[in-house]
Symmetry: C2
Subunit: 215 residues, 2 copies
Amino acid sequence: MTTPPNHAKVRVSKRAHYDQETIHGILDCGLVAHVGFVLDDRPMVIPMAYARDGDILYIHGAKAARIIKKNKSVPACLTVTHIDGLVVARSAFHHSVNYRSAVIHGHLRDVTDPEEKERALVLVTNHLLPGRWDEVRPMTEKEFKSTGVLALEIEAASAKIRTGPPVDDDEDYDLSVWAGVIGVTQTLGETENGPRNIVDDVPPSIEAARQRFND
Amino acid sequence: MTTPPNHAKVRVSKRAHYDQETIHGILDCGLVAHVGFVLDDRPMVIPMAYARDGDILYIHGAKAARIIKKNKSVPACLTVTHIDGLVVARSAFHHSVNYRSAVIHGHLRDVTDPEEKERALVLVTNHLLPGRWDEVRPMTEKEFKSTGVLALEIEAASAKIRTGPPVDDDEDYDLSVWAGVIGVTQTLGETENGPRNIVDDVPPSIEAARQRFND
């Protein structure tokens, strides 16, 4: 899983990482993934909920499942990106973005084995809200059958990370132009009770989600 | 540009929108887009800086430009997603995410006309930092030549939006299970001065960026 795909080699970047810990770290604190696949010779990119189980990623969505089922296995690319800052340089050329992204290549397959499918649904639910599966009423057979889950076996993966201040051309540091970084953060904030709520206290999964996702 | 692509018709959704104002609104306040294209029969999804000029999207990146140049025009999908909340229901099945996403289909072409390329570079710079182009030193000829810009002419576009509280099965409202929404916000926050900065005051483009992107 730590081998870059062949076409990644067209660019050798000091920002590239292929170690598992870095890649898993980026995947494990992402809210949604952007999943790309080819349909009728056209690329499609759709935001989807997901979860990781070792070297398998599970994605959840009735739409993609319907598309994928026609084939047995289709190539896909799953990308998770965190934006950490806008990098403001003294020249337009050196402007940049501080970010962490993981790009995963593999093949999607429809998850049909009931045990694997249930495990995947638990993982996807608990990815966004750790522990939530055990807080809610059990899933019915009908719900289980009508929910689509796809598995992406990780065949190649890479991460890109940019951190730090702008790097300007040496002669530009004398210019009267401000340079620096604007921090960008994503925050899970306050809760809003849903209608007809008979419980006042928010469950532990809410705080667990804040701890997982807040920058 | 407001016509859905054929394959979008496989799913009729109450969350789908095809009006230009909605789609432009989502595009205009996104920090990065996830751009998908096909390379060696494999889908690739890469986060990229971008800007909109009417019905053309410009994307910026040396890597993609090198890949695309071999061909004259390649099909691509550009997706911008905003996450607004986690929707916490009484059953796992009804959990969801409040989000706004725009999915744009078209063909990428390398921008070679110098006038269009300069306009595109101004737009991409000013998308993230409104007005920044005029705050920095002018771009050199060498920088201009080594920067890649791709144009995506919008051929089909759609938006998906989910808002509001969870919608549970009627009988589940009696359960002692908390339900509601956790708000998710993205914030451009404090600035950090870069090294060797001889200017203390941050320029107007910083506050303009906060106004454009902060939820």
